[in-house]
């Protein structure tokens, strides 16, 4: 198995963010981590990436314990954060070279890996442009290229389509799915946008820190007795599903 989360709980000063969360993801699986805002998705990402310390439970990545083998675990992880973490005043190449060095890749190896990943993301011709001059979709592609530079086996994406137009969102989603099939990379894709999830996808539905469902999108529909995932999401979480292009309801806007 690729990711094994075992009974993790996490509390902030005044709020329980995650409660007894457990799930297992297999190698090469695309898994959507679905949940309304505040469900605990970002907290889970912070725990998976060691930004926060585990308070309770265990996390294993490729069989390695996050607490006892952090170095090996971080080598296995590629992360795309919700907010862009690229340096806008540096070029694409410089941003990627910085990340490569953080993983201990020497200059020559880094250059080869950067060229490969930019090629894969169809961004090679933009290597020497400043990030500031790129549009949102291209910046995201650069961030995915960056996350893959050190050849991780697990890719974590925290609401990666935030701020993108529908076309760019769709393209990015397809790109990442391709990675799963081509390179057997396990993907955990956190989102609150229901149209980014296919019925056959593995779906983890998180709500108020609890795992409501851990099957496929179809299982989610069966569980709720609804025929559409958006309706299933709404019924299980009592929060209207967000579908881009539709005006947010009063509750969503709050």
């Amino acid at each position: 198995m690729s990711i094994e989360v075992d009974k993790i709980s996490f509390r902030y000063a005044r709020k329980t963010a995650l409660s007894e969360l457990s799930f297992i993801l297999e190698n090469g699986q695309f898994c959507a981590l679905l949940g309304p805002n505040g469900a605990g998705k970002s907290t889970l990402f912070a725990l998976l990436t060691r930004l926060y310390a585990l308070q309770q439970g265990n996390i294993h990545i490729q069989g390695l314990d996050l607490q006892t083998a952090p170095t090996q675990v971080m080598q296995q992880l590629g992360v795309v954060f919700q907010q862009s973490t690229l340096d806008l005043d540096l070029t694409v190449q410089q941003n990627l070279a910085y990340h490569a060095s953080l993983h201990g890749l020497c200059g020559a190896t880094a250059r080869v890996r950067i060229a490969q990943e930019l090629e894969r993301m169809a961004m090679k011709e933009r290597a020497h442009e400043k990030v500031r001059s790129l549009n949102g979709g291209h910046r995201r592609r650069v961030e995915i290229a960056r996350a893959l530079l050190h050849q991780p086996s697990v890719l974590l994406l925290d609401e990666p389509t935030t701020g993108l137009d529908p076309q760019a969102r769709k393209a990015l989603n397809l790109h990442v799915r391709q990675l799963c099939t081509d390179s057997m990379i396990t993907v955990l894709w956190a989102t609150h946008l229901i149209d980014e999830v296919l019925p056959e996808d593995r779906v983890l539905l998180l709500h108020q820190g609890r795992l409501l469902s851990s099957g496929t999108g179809l299982d989610l529909c069966n569980l709720s007795g609804q025929s559409h995932m958006a309706d299933a999401f709404e019924q299980l979480t009592q929060v209207p599903a967000q579908i881009p292009g539709q005006a947010p309801t009063k509750e969503q806007a709050v």
Binding site: F10, T71, V73, D89, L90, Q94, Y98, L102, C106
Partner: protein, 268 residues
């Protein structure tokens, strides 16, 4: 894959190159950082030149002008502002932005922070040397070899100030903006030191201010730089600066760990 010394070296190189690239991208910040000490050197020192008589004191071998006296303190002032500003942004950024990218490295966090502190220090040195070059215009002319001898002293002082900045911004939540750090840390550290007046002058005017100055690590930083610039070595100043740098680095790294702050973060 096991991390070897080569991996550590490439990582340090990468962090240093990034700091340098950011530095050359932000030329306006470079010039504005120079304006502050130059104003002190040209305007403040001009006014005080007549008011203060400086006796022959170590490490100088002759009577000196006030400009010559305050130049080492102003070098440290550049390092002080840079160190505090950079450390504050490191703490502010730790759960987002560039610091989060840094923390995704598989290398130990203490190593990443030390690399960051040293890289910031090395880039700050470029500003100090630019300041010393301009200071030649007002007859601050240390011996030629002094420019080289002062390099390790400046580096040590810069790391010490960066570590103090990181410690303060990590542990004291009330000082999470730069105005707070400026009022409660930078100004007291700078004024209550030997940067502007020799300690014997302080002692003449007030015993307790003198006592505070001698307890201020910035005093030793300034004296270390002053002596090195004039090819002398102040053992006490070096020991105090080194010890302060080490102690604050340890506590700063311990305090910086974002995992420590998790209890107070925002749920997502």
């Amino acid at each position: 894959m096991k991390m070897t010394p080569a991996h550590y070296w490439y990582c340090f190189q990468g962090i240093l190159i990034r700091e340098y690239l950011r530095f050359i991208q932000q030329r306006t910040r470079f010039f504005s950082a120079l304006v502050r000490p130059l104003l002190w050197l040209v305007v403040f020192a001009a006014g005080f030149r007549a008011a203060l008589g400086i006796a022959i004191i170590e490490p100088y071998e002759t009577y000196i002008t006030y400009e010559v006296y305050i130049a080492p303190g102003l070098c440290c002032m550049i390092l002080l502002f840079n160190g505090m500003q950079s450390s504050l942004s490191m703490v502010y950024d730790r759960e987002m932005g560039s610091m989060r990218v840094l923390l995704m490295s598989p290398l130990p966090r203490w190593f990443l922070l030390v690399c960051k502190l040293i890289s910031i220090a090395l880039v700050s040195l470029l500003q100090v040397y630019a300041f010393l070059l301009i200071a030649l215009l007002v007859d601050v002319e240390p011996p030629l070899w002094g420019y080289l001898a002062v390099l390790p002293a400046l580096l040590l002082v810069a790391v010490m100030l960066g570590a103090i900045g990181l410690f303060i911004s990590s542990w004291i939540k009330q000082l999470e903006n730069f105005a707070g750090v400026m009022n409660f840390v930078i100004f007291p550290m700078f004024f209550l030191s030997s940067a502007l007046y020799p300690l014997w002058k302080m002692q003449e005017s007030s015993e307790w201010i003198y006592w505070i100055c001698t307890a201020n690590p910035f005093t030793y930083a300034v004296e270390l730089v002053r002596h090195a610039l004039y090819l002398k070595f102040d053992g006490t100043a070096c020991s105090v600066t080194l010890a302060t740098a080490l102690i604050f680095s340890v506590f700063a790294i311990k305090g910086f760990n974002p995992q420590r702050a998790a209890g107070g973060g925002k749920p997502g």
